[in-house]
């Protein structure tokens, strides 16, 4: 149960210090079809399992980082800075 999140910058903090930034999705190109844009802006994959998502340390260091969280039991597997993400599947 993820009510303590480890900010890569600050260490373990209460989950209430953070802002949930949505699923880490790749932004479509400007000319991509409407459906792709619709999915990006409004659609959510809602994975029942492990998803990568953005997190902002709103009441702390104010940096964005990424989380891998298991949505089934709300446990956080890992947190890391964007530059340390090997996949970079969200990079524009």
């Amino acid at each position: 149960m993820a009510l303590i999140i480890k900010c890569p910058n600050c260490g373990e903090r209460s989950a209430y210090e953070f802002l949930f930034g949505g699923e880490a999705l790749r932004r479509p190109t400007v000319n991509a079809p409407d459906q792709e844009w619709y999915n990006y802006v409004y659609g959510r994959r809602n994975i029942h399992g492990i998803q990568k998502e953005w997190c902002y340390h709103r009441f702390g260091c104010k940096r964005w980082f990424l989380l891998r969280r298991n949505t089934s039991d709300n446990t956080v597997l890992e947190t890391f800075l964007p530059e340390d993400d090997k996949e970079k599947d969200w990079k524009t």
């Binding site: 149960m1 993820a2 009510l3 303590i4 373990e12 209460s14 802002l19 930034g21 932004r27 479509p28 190109t29 400007v30 000319n31 991509a32 409407d34 844009w37 990006y40 802006v41 953005w54 902002y56 709103r58 104010k62 940096r63 964005w64 964007p82 530059e83 969200w90 990079k91 524009t92």
Partner: protein, 986 residues
């Protein structure tokens, strides 16, 4: 029943050298420091402490441990305070509740004689024929029933409640022998421990145990002494102790809720050890609610903690070894014992006590139980009888024994609510006569009386074992990067298995030796035989409800309301569940108990709400505004000056001479780095790649769906350096938005939020240039500092950035400078400005001035549905850029066509319009006015509104409904004042 104070004794919690004075019903009461309100009132001769919920029967102290509703009183205006645990303080104002004219003579007690009219669920069945009777009855019932009353006129201090947080490794709930042993053991590792106990001192039940702790490592020592040793062992720097603190709930994610007086503590912990002990189960017999009838624990507390004997002549009814303890305590306190009914025999009782009882000629009646209590406003006697193997009364064994104190020690209920809340399961154990834990959840451990084993040595060992288990589990989960202060424990596994073996052996022996004794229940259900004293339910009520069809424990609870009162089932749940089991043919081990829910003890709403958290932000010029008597207004978190006295004067100052406006609430950001331009070009709609150093440009920020979110100014102050502004209240959003784009684009740029660091003053008006020329060290002529320029300058010696923008439609500069100089610069501007009759200008006038120019304010004139093109901001959108936030959806709007449009209008006649007025066409609402005001320049009411796109043409007439009347207005294009924008470019 007359209470007496014993001479000073070891273990008492009172301090006889300090006296406390409070008032009860206006009368002065004196007691010792450490006395509870109830103890003090007992000494005053009070026997009746409350009136029952429904029947207004007299009720006295019963548990004396904060579990039953009998002692509720109003203290300092707060209702339903448990006077048996509330320590008396000087100046307290205590008042009785739920009785008129007094507790001793309550007129409403007449209800007791009409109890036949008020059976279980009577509000579903009675007083409904004829129909008009119910509203009348309901009013009366509502007024008569209940405990305390809330005083709505009571002046409260908003900040009287506090909240705190704790983040620890192990939380131990309960500071008795089990909890203390757990703390002592676990602390050796170095893990951070929080020990929570609801009493003024640690020690748990050992605090009131005067007898010696036989068959334990403290053999031959009194409970008080054993407690001292255990407390000593549990004193370590890594243990924080919270006294007078109640853990009221365990929530998801190992969140432990603790209330300590007026403080709420949220503790997020890794492991929880529950050592909350147990409490006595009441026994049901006719008139079992009379004042003078106590649970054993209550009398032991009074005798040993307060040195008070609550009566002169006692009868003890017991089915366990604690009965012998209370008998010894009563003897030592000089109380005459009329008889002891030992339902399971006295074979286990010590010989020395039996000898003593013999000498004092006290009847020790083996196999006897109590079948009735006698008395009206207090107990006067008990009827005892012998019970045979079949559970029936032995004929001719009835004895009428006089007493003014009846002590019940008839079994236990573990205080396992927190364990159940955490997800553990319990099942009724027939052999032990109590619920034991059947299923534990990870990270939660139990130790002590709460496991239904009532043996001191077992409690101590279970405590140690729990401490070791918690430590072992923490070590397993610990990562190597954790601090080295956690000492290694190589024999941990060995210690654990040894401890476990000891616990198992002693527990098995305990189980073998236990025999709870015969139970007998009197058959006569007409008598007042209470099973739930909180809700005034008698045994018959439960049986009737089951007969009526509420034969599932859940519906039975909701219909009868047992376990729904202040005790939340502590005193009644097992009794009522047992009746339910019996009536439905189940064994107690087969039944289900109702769900345990937090809070475990009642909480004041104020405690959960906590202190007010309304951060108010003030600009660095706040004191200037207040010293000028400005009326303040809220803008998000900020306090801003609405006006300094005259809207018109402030307006005219800027139009005719010069005025200054505090705009420090705007968000300011310093964007630096090689990719700064790239970032801004992507996030904002305009072109910035061609913005030269020293120039500024309007900045429009959209969402990905093309909706207007914010606007501001982007000023290029260096090659790779920009000052960006945002509107008031949006700084937090813009900061996180810009940072997200920097991160996802991997852009080489830093973003610094300068909002609090820089103050900003807008100096505007036809004479602004003259004024500033006296103070600034740069050339402010139109050639050197033209419209939309940005210049670094020292103004009155203060280093700043001067942005020449035309927000209010006149020549002016928005000066951004370090906030510490704010008051100095303001004073300089005001004093130099005297020559021009300068005025400070408030937000209201500023809005009117900007309305003259038809400036659109995001979030005031736009909302989440406002597309940029529809908001008439197409001029700021540069589609030639390859990509920017919102482009895709704006192209769609262009393609699909606009449906609505922002327009400016001028009212045709002399009529007025206001913000929010609706625009109608063919009697249907088609649009709305977002900003409206009287334009001194046009001498008419003007405004900004949303209308359907087809009505947005210049010269079109629209109909606005103001105050119920239609007002005609004409759509105009551009600004209402200085249409060509010449004045600000001078």
């Amino acid at each position: 029943m007359k209470a007496t104070r014993l001479p000073q004794k070891v273990g008492e919690q009172i301090n006889r050298s300090k006296s406390v004075t409070f008032t009860y019903n206006g009368r002065s009461v004196q007691c010792y420091e450490g006395d509870t309100v109830a103890a003090a009132l007992l000494m005053e001769g009070r026997n009746i402490f409350g009136r029952s919920f429904k029947y207004h029967r007299p009720r006295g102290l019963f548990c004396v441990a904060g579990r039953c509703p009998n002692c509720f009183m109003e203290v300092n205006g707060q209702p339903n305070v448990k006077s048996c645990t509330m320590l008396a303080k000087d100046g307290m104002e205590v008042k009785p509740q739920n009785a008129w004219p007094s507790l001793d003579h309550d007129l409403s007690s007449i209800i007791d004689h009409f109890s036949f009219l008020l059976p279980v669920g009577f509000y579903y069945k009675k007083f409904i024929h004829p129909k008009w009777l119910w509203p009348v009855a309901r009013k009366i019932i509502r007024r008569a029933a209940g405990y305390g009353k809330v005083n709505l006129n009571l002046q409260r201090n908003e900040s009287e409640y506090e909240d705190e947080y704790r983040y620890v490794d192990i939380a131990i709930i309960g500071g008795g022998p089990a909890g203390l042993s757990a703390a002592a053991e676990a602390s050796k590792s170095g893990y951070r421990i929080l020990l929570v106990d609801d009493q003024p001192e640690l020690g748990g039940h050992l605090r009131y145990k005067a007898s010696s702790c036989d068959n334990s490592e403290f053999s031959g020592i009194t409970g008080f002494e054993a407690a001292k040793t255990l407390i000593q062992q549990a004193s370590a720097t890594n243990i924080e102790v919270l006294n007078n603190a109640t853990c009221f709930g365990i929530y998801e994610g190992n969140l432990v809720g603790i209330s300590q007086g007026k403080k709420l503590i949220r503790a997020r912990v890794k492991k929880i050890i529950i050592a909350t002990g147990c409490f006595e189960r009441p026994f049901s017999f006719p008139n079992n609610d009379l004042p003078g009838i106590f649970l054993r624990e209550g009398v032991q507390r009074l005798i040993n903690l307060h040195s008070i004997t609550p009566g002169r002549t006692a009868v003890v009814v017991t089915n366990n070894k604690y009965g012998s303890e209370i008998a010894a305590d009563l003897l030592d306190a000089g109380v005459k014992i009329s008889a002891i009914a030992a339902t399971n025999g006295s074979a286990m009782w010590g010989n020395s006590l039996k000898t003593r009882l013999n000498e004092e000629r006290i009847q020790l009646l083996d196999g006897y139980t109590v079948v009735e209590a006698k008395g009206k406003s207090g107990v006067k006697g008990a009827v005892l009888a012998k019970v045979n193997e079949q559970g029936n009364l032995v004929p001719d064994s009835l004895k009428n024994v006089p007493c003014d104190l009846l002590v019940l020690s008839t079994g236990f209920e573990p205080a396992n609510a927190l364990l159940l809340q955490a997800g553990c399961e319990a099942v009724f154990d027939e052999k032990l006569g109590e619920s034991t834990l059947s299923n534990m959840v990870p990270s939660v451990y139990a130790a002590g009386d709460v496991t239904a084993i009532h043996d001191l040595q077992v409690s101590i060992l279970q405590g140690r074992l729990a401490g070791l288990q918690a430590e072992a589990d923490l070590r397993k989960e610990q990562k190597r990067s954790e601090p080295i202060s956690i000492k290694t424990n190589p024999e941990l596994e060995q210690k654990m298995s040894q401890c476990l073996a000891e616990v198992n052996a002693l527990t098995a022996k305990y189980r073998d030796d236990i025999h709870p004794g015969l139970t007998y229940r009197s058959p006569d259900e007409k008598e007042k035989k209470f099973v739930c004293i909180c809700e005034d339910l008698v045994e018959k009520d439960i049986k009737v409800a089951i007969e009526e069809g509420f034969d599932d424990i859940e519906t039975l609870k909701r219909y009868t309301t047992f376990a729904m009162g202040p005790c939340q089932g502590k005193l009644c749940s097992l009794t009522c569940t047992a009746i339910h089991a019996e009536q439905t043919g189940l064994k107690l081990s087969e039944t289900k108990r109702t769900t345990s829910r937090p809070p475990y003890q009642p909480l004041a709403m104020g405690l959960l709400n906590g202190p007010p958290h309304r951060p108010i932000r003030l600009t660095a010029l706040h004191h200037k505004h207040t010293s000028l008597n400005a009326t303040l207004m809220d803008m998000g978190e900020w306090k801003r000056p609405k006006s300094y006295g005259s809207l018109e004067q402030e307006y005219r100052a800027i139009r005719e001479r010069v005025g200054i406006i505090d705009v420090s609430t705007l968000g300011r950001f310093l964007i630096k780095g090689p990719d700064s331009g790239k970032l801004l070009e992507m996030v904002y709609t305009h072109l910035y790649s061609n913005l030269k150093v020293g120039r500024a440009r309007y900045a429009l920020l959209l969402s990905e769906t093309g909706k207007v979110v914010d606007d501001g100014i982007i000023a290029r102050i260096g090659e790779d350096e920009y000052l960006t502004t945002s509107s008031t209240g949006n700084a937090e959003f813009v900061e996180n938005w810009l940072k997200w784009w920097q991160v996802t684009g991997s852009l080489d740029v830093t973003i610094t939020n300068m909002t609090s660091g820089l103050a900003a003053i807008n100096v505007a008006g036809p004479r602004a240039r003259e004024l500033l020329s006296h103070l600034a060290d740069i050339d402010l002529s139109n050639e050197a500092a033209s419209y939309m320029s940005c210049k670094k300058a020292n103004v009155a010696g203060v280093p700043g950035i001067m942005l020449r923008i035309g927000f209010v439609g006149e020549v002016g500069w928005e000066i951004h400078f370090p906030a510490e100089y704010a008051e100095y610069l303001w004073d300089k501007l005001m004093s130099e400005g005297q020559a021009y009759d300068i005025r400070p200008v408030g937000v209201e006038a500023m809005r009117l001035l900007s309305l003259d120019k038809r400036h659109i304010w995001p979030t005031l004139d736009t909302d989440a549905a406002s597309d940029a093109l529809e908001a008439d901001l197409a001029w700021a959108v540069k589609f030639e850029k390859t990509d920017f936030v919102g482009k895709h959806y704006l192209l769609k709007t262009q393609h699909d066509g606009l449906r609505q449009h922002i327009i400016g209008f001028v009212v045709k006649g002399t009529g007025a319009v206001s913000n929010g007025d609706v625009i109608v066409a063919e009697s249907k609402p088609v649009g709305r006015v977002t900003t409206a005001g009287y334009s001194y320049a046009r001498e008419k009411y003007v405004g900004i509104a949303w209308v359907p796109a087809k009505s947005a043409n210049e010269h079109n007439i629209i109909s606005i409904v103001h105050d119920g009347h239609p007002v005609e207005a004409e759509v105009v294009s551009g600004a209402f004042y200085d249409h060509e924008g010449q004045r600000m470019k001078n």
